[in-house]
């Protein structure tokens, strides 16, 4: 039987974490200040020609990511919660260069792509020179049911990955 999984903010749809070899204050700074953001935002080969940040609750940000081929992808967002240097909650959507809302379809994406994403980023001290950063992403629209996933399938996948690779 197929069950519908309700959207539950406690269970993010995308989680990634990474330990950085730097004190927490530094990681937080690199994550939030434009002069640093522009140096790491985007995948390999990309540049971030525009990074505007108004870092306070209710403050807006505007990022531009430029692909090696010269295509620009704009994102506009707003900070919803800030606990220095522990936690940031923000929302983000696609935009044009002026920050006007764009739909994912405007960027050539599937029509059912979420219009807005909710990100929760946490910074945890592992030791004096080690910080664990975790990004939890939720789509604010009901996208979860497209996945029909539950906690069991990841384990199942692991077992099968082993079986498949034999």
């Amino acid at each position: 039987m197929t069950q519908e999984i309700p959207d539950d903010p406690a269970e993010p749809q995308f989680v990634i974490s990474r330990t950085f070899k730097a004190p927490r204050d530094l990681v937080f700074k690199a994550w939030t200040e434009p002069q640093y953001i522009s140096r790491w935002w985007g995948p390999k080969g990309f540049t971030a020609p525009v990074v505007e940040v108004d870092f306070r609750v209710g403050g807006k940000f505007l990022f531009c990511m430029r692909s090696p081929a010269g295509n620009d992808y704009w994102n506009k967002g707003e900070y919803r919660e800030i606990i220095v240097p522990e936690r940031i909650v923000s929302v983000m959507h696609f935009s044009d260069a002026q920050g006007n809302f764009k739909t994912p379809a405007d960027y050539g994406m599937a029509a059912d792509f979420p219009l807005e994403m909710l990100d929760v980023v946490t910074f945890e001290i592992m030791d004096a020179d080690k910080t664990l950063l975790t990004l939890r992403r939720n789509h604010t629209l009901s996208q979860a049911r497209h996945y029909g996933e539950d906690e069991g399938w990841a384990e199942s996948l692991e077992r099968f990955a082993r079986a498949v690779e034999q």
């Binding site: 950085f20 994406m109 029909g148 199942s156």
Partner: protein, 144 residues
């Protein structure tokens, strides 16, 4: 036949790789391009009975009777699960006389694994760049 369809679908994805890698970073767009194909896989995997059936088939082919045995289910109910798995292309069916045999088709798992890896890769690249920025910041901090 299923395999050919799937291969055709996969190769049509290779073109916009650069675009995909850009948008993944922002929004895991790759999910959405591939997700149409893997939706069915994940939905099929969301059910514990179907996963148990796949676990059994990972050991080798089995008849419908054999697959039904460990579960307190009617053969009809098991057949429904098998239909679901077949539609998701996770299993192949083969008739041998009066018996129907099922085998595992691993390709959809590879697609899901590929998708999961792609999801993380763009962030990993970004995090590697952040590593460099942090090293730089640490050096400058020490000079002060």
């Amino acid at each position: 036949m299923h395999l050919n369809q799937r291969q055709a679908a996969t190769s049509s994805l290779c073109g916009p790789t650069i675009l995909v890698s850009a948008l993944t970073f922002l929004s895991n767009i790759y999910n959405y391009m591939v997700v149409n194909k893997i939706n069915l896989t994940l939905t099929a995997l969301a059910d514990p009975t179907r996963r148990a059936i796949l676990d059994r088939l990972a050991l080798g082919p089995a008849s419908v009777n054999e697959l039904a045995r460990p579960f307190k289910l009617t053969q009809q109910a098991v057949s429904k699960h098998l239909d679901y798995l077949h539609r998701a292309q996770l299993i192949n069916k083969r008739r041998d006389g009066r018996q129907q045999f099922c085998t595992l088709n691993p390709q959809p798992f590879r697609d899901v694994i590929g998708w999961a890896e792609q999801c993380c890769r763009a962030w990993e690249e970004s995090f590697e760049r952040l590593d460099v920025v942090l090293e730089d910041m640490k050096r400058k901090d020490k000079k002060k």
